[in-house]
Each structure stands twice: as structure tokens, then as C-alpha cells.
Subunit: 119 residues, 2 copies
């Protein structure tokens, strides 16, 4: 058993919008993701989704408002709420959600990652 | 809905070994805790427990080994594994676990927090 260094794990991949699992917490995945540009509008009907920004800045648009996260900020997108993450410059985040959660939620499409890789 | 700045939230309390809730993720609590000195040996029979160090350093002793976490490191203590967190200097961490989780697990005693406060 060993500690997981988030920066060291983040250095092992460079693709955007492709979450990598680093740990399990019961039946939840602890994932790292690098983001740049805009993701798709989507929602997760069965779960909340936690974002914790570890580098850079992230905007999470929702239909009625937007939340802006700087380094060291977290936000939990409530279950069923449509959202669209975006980052004008590269942003790194920790994402925690049930392991079966699909990154694009109900939206599907080209940005869907069918199988979450581990780093 | 707004982002939660972990450093700003951490500035709102100073007591050690008394986790404060800052968010819910489904039925999980996202908690902040400040630690200094040694906690009690205990285990959580029904859940894993996630620690993410945001400031300082934390050692999590288990019966057969110990894990040392520096800032930006996370560790998930597996369900049922006896552990004792300790920090020679003040350490700040994020802890994620089901909302009903008692900080001292099966051990009870003076360090038990019966009701988790929110900050």
C-alpha cells in the first residue's frame, strides 16, 4: 500500500478529457483528468460528481449559472443537473464518482470514454 | 451554487482531529480536518476512507506498514484495516467517506466527534 502522488500520476498522461483512475473508494473511482477547451453538455441522472481543481482553472457551466474553480477549489455537480466543463488553458482536476459513471453522461458522442484506464 | 475554496474553508476552524463537512457527494461527506499529534488506532468496518493532504505531512500507520503522505498525496485506507494517523506538525487534509462514518470508527473514546459540524 502506498500514497498516490497526484502530480506524479498526472505526469503519466497528456490527453484531454480522458479521465484516468488512480484509486477506488468503495465503489467510487478517484480519477484524474486534464482538460482544455470545452466538453459537451451532459448530465448524470444517477449521481453527483465531484471536481477538485489541482492546477489551472475550470468553469462549469450549468443552464442557469456557472461556477468558476481555481486551484484548490472543489465543486459537486448535483445529480441530474446539466453541465459543461471548460478551460481556456490546460486544467488538471481530481474527479470522484461511482466507477460506472460515463464521462459524457446522457450525452454520448465522440468524447465518450468507454473504458477508464488506470495510471 | 458556488465553488468551495478549501484553504478558505480551512481558515474557519483551528481544532485538531475534529473533521468539518464542506460538501456532500451523494451520501458521502467531503470533510476537512486539521491534525497534529497522534490519533487513536481504529478501523471502519463498513467503508474505505480517503485522505488527501492539502498542507503539511501525514503518516498513516497500519499494523504491518505505514504510509507517508506529503502535500498533494492521497491514500485510501481499506475497509476494516486498523490505522492510526499522526502528524508531527500541523497537517490539513480532505477526508471523504460515507456521511455516517464516525471519526474514531470502532474505537470510540474521547476523540469521538458525535456530530460533524459544517463550515
Amino acid at each position: 500500500m502506498k500514497a498516490i502522488n497526484l502530480e506524479e500520476k498526472s505526469s503519466k498522461f497528456s490527453d484531454h478529457w480522458s479521465p484516468k483512475a488512480v484509486a477506488m473508494l468503495n465503489d467510487y473511482h478517484v480519477r484524474l483528468v486534464k482538460m482544455q477547451g470545452s466538453f459537451v453538455w451532459h448530465k448524470h441522472d444517477d449521481t453527483d460528481e465531484l471536481f477538485l481543481v489541482t492546477k489551472g482553472q475550470l468553469t462549469i457551466e450549468m443552464r442557469d449559472e456557472a461556477v468558476h474553480l481555481t486551484e484548490g477549489c472543489l465543486f459537486v455537480v448535483p445529480k441530474g443537473v446539466e453541465h459543461k466543463p471548460s478551460a481556456s488553458e490546460e486544467c488538471w482536476a481530481l474527479v470522484i464518482e461511482p466507477a460506472e459513471t460515463v464521462n459524457t453522461g446522457d450525452a454520448g458522442g465522440d468524447m465518450t470514454i468507454d473504458e477508464i484506464e488506470w495510471v
